[in-house]
Symmetry: C2
Subunit: 304 residues, 2 copies
């Protein structure tokens, strides 16, 4: 087993759904990522919080092999985000984004962590992603996230990061946006040419697609009947993916495929509760059970 | 091997895409269905055409075990439909629908076909679907299609047909509409309670879902990079599904799963050409090759 380092955000989120509203949930990409990855391997978090941050909220993560030696505490307030979902969860309205201490975030990778073999660059500015990469010593596998904001605003820098990573984990809309190609299959092949050997495209309720070199792998979404809060599902998914890679500590096709299945398993758990509550309550057995459910959901073979 | 009977339409279609336009293509649900089903088993078509119909166009189907003894020829013109697709194929505009002889279509099942074991009620009015069922003698497996028009206009009759069939093959939008339940998984479970033991929901580029009793099976869409004309893909899909069932002549879970894979294989071939041209040119080997590609696209397993 190896370990994984994530650079991203720790935040307080307010989430409104048609049925409920929760204030000041522990959130942020690094939080969701590390909660999910901690089912599989030790995780190191590099992020920033403000003076108002309640450190005891990280206790459950510390008890799950998550290391916060890279968590900076700065003067000011912690990143806060508020959002509201439509009744069918297909639309999300951002109510506010207060970057606070995150606005001046300068990721510093502690010397003890610079050789971490598996690295995930969560959705932060591409300049910061490059900066993190320059601090790492020959990681075995680096994957990144990005978003429409950076693709539109800093396309050149996004491509620069892409040329330096092994994997990209994004959603279908972002994949089409990166390439201006409406056919997702063609868009995925085009993205591979920008650098990453491994591309994962998340399609929400429609599952996920992995492209490794020239080979596609498809997985449906886990059939979630009780969707509570989709916030952070993408980061939990990435955490499951990278965490499993670090656990397996192998870079081959079957490992990537299994990583996608475990990513989808933890992503599906994530949305069944507000914030990280469902992931926090879940056991390794539940995660493995979802893996087996995915096997049953997708199995077919010719007989006779 | 058994055989399958389809009751539906034979039509002339005009299709416009961003790149091309084709006039008077041989179309209609029974045409697409029987072309696809003929890869697997003998097919009997019950439909109606007008005086203008060019019978020689059915020659390739006759050579593929498709029997047109149930094709009625009436005074008047054959059903004509025209449609235009957006450049990304996500929108379809109906330019015209001339029902012509189809407007007064009264399906008559020839006595020799009334005991056909596998029956597909394509997208015709639910009254006609009931009428067909009343003419059949204890079929082994009956599946039906329907559409938003009938669900909105004749919901009670649609439910009456549903209570009498074994299978329903529809798209995700129709499944949500039938139940007014936005969560597709829940919608599918609700539909099962209306009668059909087998429910297949087609999601276009996002694949298809089978619900057999309480067990789900998911299959992605075949990665089509060169989409030419989506017309008839749903009927070709149904033809592949029912044709494979008739070929296997078994009603068990693995057979239904394989039927869904073959349905998706022929559906994906269908959209690679205008009208039925691609299905007409395809070989059984190509269909089987797509089955194997689906296996590669979806395979994963835990090692160690």
């Amino acid at each position: 087993m190896s370990s994984v380092l994530v650079v991203g955000s720790v935040a307080y989120d307010t989430v409104e759904t048609a049925r409920s509203r929760k204030d000041d949930l522990l959130g942020g990409s690094a939080t969701y990522f590390s909660t999910a990855a901690s089912f599989f391997a030790p995780v190191h978090v590099v992020a920033v919080v403000g003076e108002d941050f309640r450190d005891e909220e990280l206790q459950f993560l510390r008890s799950r092999q998550v290391d916060f030696s890279g968590l900076q505490r700065q003067a000011g307030q912690t990143f806060r985000w508020g959002g509201r979902y439509s009744a069918d969860f297909l639309q999300r309205e951002t109510l506010y984004t207060h970057l606070n201490v995150f606005e001046q975030f300068k990721p510093e990778i502690p010397a003890t962590l610079q050789a971490t073999p598996y690295v995930f660059l969560a959705n932060i500015g591409p300049e910061l992603q490059l900066n993190v990469l320059s601090q790492m010593q020959r990681p075995r596998f680096v994957a990144m996230d990005t978003m429409n904001f950076w693709i539109a605003r800093t396309p050149v820098t996004v491509r620069q990061v892409l040329s330096q990573v092994d994997g990209l984990i994004i959603n279908d809309e972002e994949a089409r946006m990166l390439t201006t190609e409406p056919n997702l299959i063609r868009a995925m092949r085009l993205i591979r040419r920008l650098g990453p050997r491994v591309l994962v495209v998340k399609k929400g309720e429609h599952g996920a697609i992995l492209l490794l070199d020239d080979d596609f792998f498809y997985l449906p979404a886990y059939p979630v009947e009780n969707l509570v809060d989709p916030t952070g599902a993408g980061d939990a998914f990435a955490g499951g993916f990278m965490g499993y890679l670090a656990q397996a500590d192998k870079i081959d096709e079957l490992t990537f495929r299994n990583a996608l299945v475990f990513a989808s398993a933890v992503g599906s758990l994530c949305v069944e509760g507000f914030g990280v509550s469902r992931l926090q309550a879940a056991t390794r057995e539940e995660v493995l059970q979802r893996y087996h459910t995915f096997q049953k959901l997708t199995h077919f073979e010719l007989t006779e």
